[in-house]
Every structure is written in C-alpha cells, then in structure tokens.
Amino acid sequence: MKRRNLLLSGVGLAGALIVGWGALPARSRLGSGNLWPQDLADTSIALNGWIKITPDGGVVLAMARSEMGQGVHTALSMLVAEELDVPLGRVVLAQAGSDAIYGNVAMLVNGLAFHPSELQQGDKPAATKVRLNQWLVGKVARELGIHVTGGSSSIADAWQPLRLAAATARGSLLGAASLAWKLPVAELTVKNGVISHASGPSGHYGQFARYAASTPPGNVRLKPRKDWALIGQSTPRKDVPAKVNGTATFGLDVRLPGMLYAAVRLCPMLGGSPGALNANVALAMPGVVRLVPLQAWAGSTAGFAVVAKTWWHAQRAAQAVPVDWRQRPAGALDSRAIEKNLLSSLVQEPGHIFHEQGDVDAAEAAASRKLEATYSAPFLAHATLEPMNCTAQVADGKVHIWVPGQVPQIAAAVAARVAGVAQEDVTVTVTLLGGGFGRRLEVDFVAQAVRVAMDCGGQPVQLIWSREEDMTHDFYRPMAVARLRAALDAQGSVSSLSIQSAGDAISPRWFERAATALSSPFDMPDKTTAEGLFNLPYAFAHQKMAHAATRMSVPVGYWRSVGHSQNAFFSEGFMDELALAVGQDPLAFRRSLLRHLPRYLAVLNLAAAKAGWGNALPAGQARGIALHESFGSVVAQVAVVSLDGKLPRVHRVVCAIDCGTVVNPAIVAQQMEGAVVFALSAALFGRIDIHDGVVQQKNFTAYPMLKLAQTPQVDTFFVSSQAPPGGVGEPGVPPLAPAVANALYQLTGKRQRALPFVL
C-alpha cells in the first residue's frame, strides 16, 4: 500500500530548520496576566492570558473567536465555568488581545490530509506518522498564532488550553484562600465561585484574586468527566436575549459620533476596473460628501465608494454615477467556458494523487463490468444575511476598525497596509457577525473601509455593501467536477474505485490576497478542494483519488464545509449508484464496506434506526441516506422526500452525529438544523452563473433561499463518545444533498449528478 504523504513533502522544504527547533517542547498557551490590555479603570485581576476575576467574584474570559451563530461564545464560556465552578452567567467576555496564545492551532492541524485508515487504532506506522505530522504542524501553528474562527475548529482548539487556563486560575485562587485561612488546600471546596471550608470560612473568588495573582496554582488537574456539571448539558445560549430585542450589535449597528456612511460600487465584471467616471454627478446629489476610488484590495474588484450622511444617500448617488467599466485585461470570465475547461482537465490533467492503494489499473483491466459517472457542482455565493461591512476611523496615524470578521489580525494587517501605519497602530473591535460561512475570512471590505476613512478627515465611516454588491463580488465556492469510476469483479463485487476531480484551489489564493506574508511562491496541493473524496471510509481493495487544481481566475473562497460541500454529493451519490449496480440496499451496501471503521458504522446505523430505514412510507415518499466525515465529526442523514410539482419536498431529515465529546447538545442540534437548511437551499436553488464577467444572480430573487414553509423537520441524534470534541458548524452540510438526491432517484428514476437538482 503506498500513500502520498502530502505534508512531509511540503514540509521537506524547511526540514533542516525544523529539526532543531522542532525538538523544543510546544510553548504553553496559558499566557500571563500582562497580555490583557492595560486599563487603569479596570478593577479586575488577571490570573493568566485568558482569565480575569472581577472584585465581586465574576469571571472575565478573553474571547478570541467570533460569534457568527455557531454558539461559540456560549460553548467556550461553558468550558471555563465548568473548571472554575461558577454559574455560566458569571462568565463575561472581553475581546482578546493580539498575542499568539489565542491563535487557532487545531484549524491548521485539521488541515492535514490523512486517510481514515491512518487515523484508526492499530496501524502503528500510520499512527506514528499522524502524530508526528500533527505535532509538527501544531508547533508551527502555535508560533504563527493566527486568530481565526473557521474550519469548525474552535472547541477542538480550546478544549485543552482553555480548560487548563481556568483550572490553573482555580488552583491559584484556592491556594490564596488556603494561605489566607491557613487551612490545607485539599480541604477547601468551591461552589458557585465561593470557596469554603467545613470549619466555617467562606469567600468568593473576588476576595482572593489579588493574592491569587502571585500564588502558584499547585498541581493543576482538569476536572474528571464524571464531575462535569455543565459540559454535556443543553445550556441556553448567552447571546440569545440580546438577539430577540434588537440590542445585539452587529457590524452594521456600530454607531459613532459624527459617523458617515459609504456605499460601494465595484466593477460589475469580475476583475475589471472603472475607466472614466463622472464623480460630479454623485457630488451634486444631496447628502453626499465625497467619492473615493477603490483599487482591487485584498482580492476584490476595483470600483469606487460614495460617502454621504446616510447609507441611502450614498447608495443612491453611487448608482447614479455614469461609469465606463473596463473588462479585465485577460478577458471576460464565463462560467460555461469554465465548466468546459474543468471537464477537459479531468481528462487531460493527472493532478495530484491524494490517495492510492492497491492497483486500480489492474482491477479495472480484470473487471467484469465498469461503472463511470461525472458529477458537477456550480459556483456558490455565501449570502450572509448581514451584507459585507466595516466601520473605520483613521486619525493621527492611528486606525480603528469595527468589523464583523473571522480573522481580526489579518484585518488589522490589511488596515495597516492600506493606511501605511504599523500594525500596532491598528485597533480592531470585533462585533457580532450576521452570518459568516467563510465569507468573513476575507478582508476586502476592511481594506475598502480604511481607504475611504483615510479621506474623511478623522471622521468614522461605515462602509456597507448593497446585497447586489455582496452577491456579485463574493469569493465563491469553486465550481467543481469529478469523474468517478468503479470496477466490478467476476463475483459482481466492487473491487476498485477511482476518482478524478478538478476545480480551483482555494487556500493558495486566500494566502495570496489575505495573508500575503505567508503565501507560498508556488501552489502546494490544496486539501480543501479534494477533502471528502480522497479520504472516503469505504473498504474498496483498490483506490485512487487525484485532484487537478485549476486556475480559472474567478475569486474563490471557503464556503461552509468547503470541498466536502460538493465532494460528499459526488461520492455518496456514486455510492448509491454502486449499491444499485450490485443489487444491494444502499444502507446494507455501505455497512458491508465499513466493518473496519466502527465509528462510521455506528453513526450510519443510528441514523438508519432512528429513521426506520426499511419501514413502509406513505405513497409518493422515498428515503435517501448519506454518510460523511468532515472536520473531525461523522454525520449520517436520512432524508424523506416527495415530489411537489417541479421541486423536491423534503419532509424530514434524521441526522446522526459523532462529534466526540459534546459540550452543548442543544447547540449541536441547532447547527445540524441550520446545516440542513443551508445545504438544502444550495441543492434546490444554488447556482452562480458568470457571463461576460458579470455574476448573473444579484439578489435573493435570483439566488433564492429555503423558507420556513419548505423546511423539513430535522431530528438530531448523538453517538456516545468520549473522544475530544470534533467540529459541528460544518459537518451537517455535506451529507444532505446526496441523501436527498438518493431519495429523488427512488422517486424519479433519474440520477442527480449535478447541483442544483433538475427534476
């Protein structure tokens, strides 16, 4: 069995450097109290980089992750409340500083390309390789310290360091009480943030915080699983009350004295630019302050912004400006031409082999029968409900930005670059995000806001994209195609699976435009576009998966569940085709190929059992099933579907998940419900077409979203696990489209091999 070892080949470049440095132990992520911003009015006491104690015994948690609906502010607070034994309500959040301890290590480690068989217990050489790679990348990630909310990684990343920070703080607080009372620390107990001793003394954390800051924590141990009071409980979210009365502050809700508003108008042709434009038309309109040309910052398309006293005035004036738009020099982009090119690159470009085992060629040569199918998926927009926006103020060589973003440091870096100041002179305030889904891993709108603010004489300016700009200037989920081929042996069993896919790489383009300093001069194989195809769990004896990374020049980005979002549709649709070909029930067929991976099998079985797989359904309804691993979690879904005229009608989705240890089951269930709706919108309606460089879908009228009346009942079930937490924000998305497609085949006899569905 030979496997291409993606990481080590890449890291080989810097291997010599890493050998010496790599021998050092990973640096602690505890951090010291001086990482908190200095504030003389602040009466709370910092015990480490994560935890401060207020005079009344409350806990302040340094928050370095963005809340975009996934419940991360609640879940991370729960980890801290658990270890400190305080009620969840006593944990308040403060935006973390910029230190590397808050960087996301798990997201980079999860970016490694392993095959499920390598992650199984028992395969020693594989386990060693996995551990070595994870350790190495973990060290690199720790040094880089990138603050990023993405890749469904926040809980996995915080799981050890955050609980450890809270437990360490608790140790010091107990130590301080022990010294003050001259009582053994082992005899002290904590309940609701109050330390007490059976002999009488009692006091809350606030009374010991000052001494605790200089008291060693003693022997720090994490609370054993059996003592958890919060972790594993469906605890209400902290952010909900403000989200039902209009007081929650999103980026668009920032209000500052003297604030102006800016509307943008970017060249409608992607990559194009404005030629001559008549600014006077805008300047003559009421309420307008100025027009600011915008170059193609951070991967965006060039255009201009109009600044006015309200956004309505700005937008009206921006629309009125006559502009001679110029097509990009390399020629107009066209999604039909791109699809053709992708299909031909399937044949012509071998691509990078991500996984290979056995001998596919020999198996195909000996086949009694072969099956081949080509699948495709279109470009997609993120369409967060809160359009792209950023508020910026540039005054006295300092920049302050208020941004609903997933990458605050990268936003600061681009702001510094645009304004020509040092990054230390940029202050970033992260607001709540009205949806993220990967769109807010970009910083194009940040650069624009800073550029506009530079011309506003120190006044703050809130730059807001219209829905039309948001939809036509996104970083799209890349169009992708795949050819899947299976060989059946003389006994009629599937002996080999060979997959060739093609599509633009995302990560190299993202580094180029957003994290330029970390960008590589050449493209390394990008796991994010091949994930979910090269790491299929099924035990076919002979397998080969190769992906050709193309460069079609459409701006592409990370879209909730990234490559998995289309690759699960390809692979699980084809699995149904294979089940049919070998005359097996789709569930039984999958089961027979998963005996070596009990984790996958358990999830599949739970979904099937809860859905009553095999039981009769009302006439006109059918079930489809799909299974997919992503971001460390395995999800199976069973969809019950009927036909409602020209549209599929999904009645119910049973969702089973193994996401390791569950921190808050209610939030996981929410994420599964949301993922189903997100994926179903894409499967039924989602496509972005580009003609003559122009995105054709400009608003929700042409790029529809599922609405309440079309929403299926989603029931979520958990497979019990004591493994460390996996992701939950994205893993619910990938299995939905194939589950529905497989049900549709039962109803129509037509195999859905392209998204969105066409009946």
Partner: protein, 187 residues
C-alpha cells in the same frame, strides 16, 4: 428635498427632517439610530427590515416615509420591555431560536403581526405569514416558538402548554432534537 415628516414610531410622534422618499429602514437606522431593524436585501425579499405598520408586517427597506404619515409604526425596540418581554420573545428564548440573530428582529415582527391577526395560527397560517429569510436556518424553531407563544403547542412531556411565563423554560426548548446518548454524561 428634505421636509419635516411626522412619524408615529413606537407610540411617539417624531418630526423627522428627511427626504420624504427615504425608506423607513434608513430613517430608523441612520437618522434615528434605531438599529434593531436590519438591512438585508433592499428589495423587500428577505424581511430582515420587517416592522409593523398599523399592526401589519411591512418591509421597511422599500417603504418611503411619506407613505407612513398618520400610521402607527412599531419596531423591535418596542415589541416588549426589558421588564416585560413579549410572549414571542420569551418563546424565542425558551426554544433557543437565534443563531447569528441577524434576521430575528424581522422574524419577531412578522410573527407578532401574525398573532395579532391570528392568535391561534395553524401550520398553514405560519407557513403563509413567515416568508422572511433566515440564512442560519432557524425556521424549525421559529415555528415551534410561535406555537408556544400562541399557546397552541401540542402537549408533550407535560410542557409547552400555554403561553410562556417569565420562568426559565425547559433547557433546549421543545424543538425536536433528541439527545439519546450523549457521551459526556455517562449517567
């Protein structure tokens, strides 16, 4: 050109110096700094900007303020009071509806208009009235929360019966997720 437009917002008459053609959304947000009402699409498609006018749901992003003179405008800021939340707000909390939360002001105003007209809505009533977009996909919980607020939630496990009180709701609400075997709690 700008003129003084009298607007009855949340029970108070304000004389706002604006262009009468300006949509209510931007008068609320950028002139009055009432940011609870959200901008989503600008074409009355997503409903993030929903307010109530004379008790009916209205998409404020395409409604010029000149058309609202003499009418009663209600926004999310006045749906309930901090000391006395609206039953829908309590139900939204009990069912843990919001994710990102951006659409929820509009959703609540649309739901409030529904209950004003149809105090005991059926599923079909809810389907017809709730046409706003939630990109996070909270629809399933919105349906249950409306029923909870309306007191039409089917009795289940002895809860979810009647309008919500200002007491803590059952954790996780009555939405349909089932925690069968969460590994975190071996008991």
């Amino acid at each position: 050109m700008e003129s003084s437009v009298p607007l009855n917002i949340n029970g108070k008459t304000l004389h706002v110096m604006v262009d009468p053609a300006m949509p209510l959304l931007w008068v609320l947000r950028d002139v009055l700094n009432m940011t609870g009402t959200k901008f989503g699409c600008g074409v009355a498609e997503c409903g993030a900007c929903t307010v109530k006018v004379d008790g009916r749901a209205l998409r404020s992003c395409v409604t010029p303020v000149s058309s609202l003179v003499g009418k009663r405008i209600q926004t999310i800021e006045a749906l309930g009071r901090p000391d006395k939340p609206h039953p829908l707000q309590l139900a939204w909390i009990a069912e843990q509806v919001p994710q990102c939360g951006y659409c929820q002001s509009g959703m609540l105003m649309a739901a409030s208009a529904l209950l004003d007209k149809t105090p005991k809505p059926t599923d079909a009533d809810i389907d017809a009235a709730m046409t706003n977009i939630c990109r996070c996909g909270t629809y399933q919980r919105i349906r249950v929360a409306i029923k909870r607020a309306a007191g039409v939630l089917p009795k289940k496990d002895g809860r979810g019966d009647g309008p919500p009180q200002a007491r803590p709701a059952p954790l996780g609400g009555s939405a349909a997720h089932k925690v069968t075997s969460v590994g975190a709690r071996p008991t």
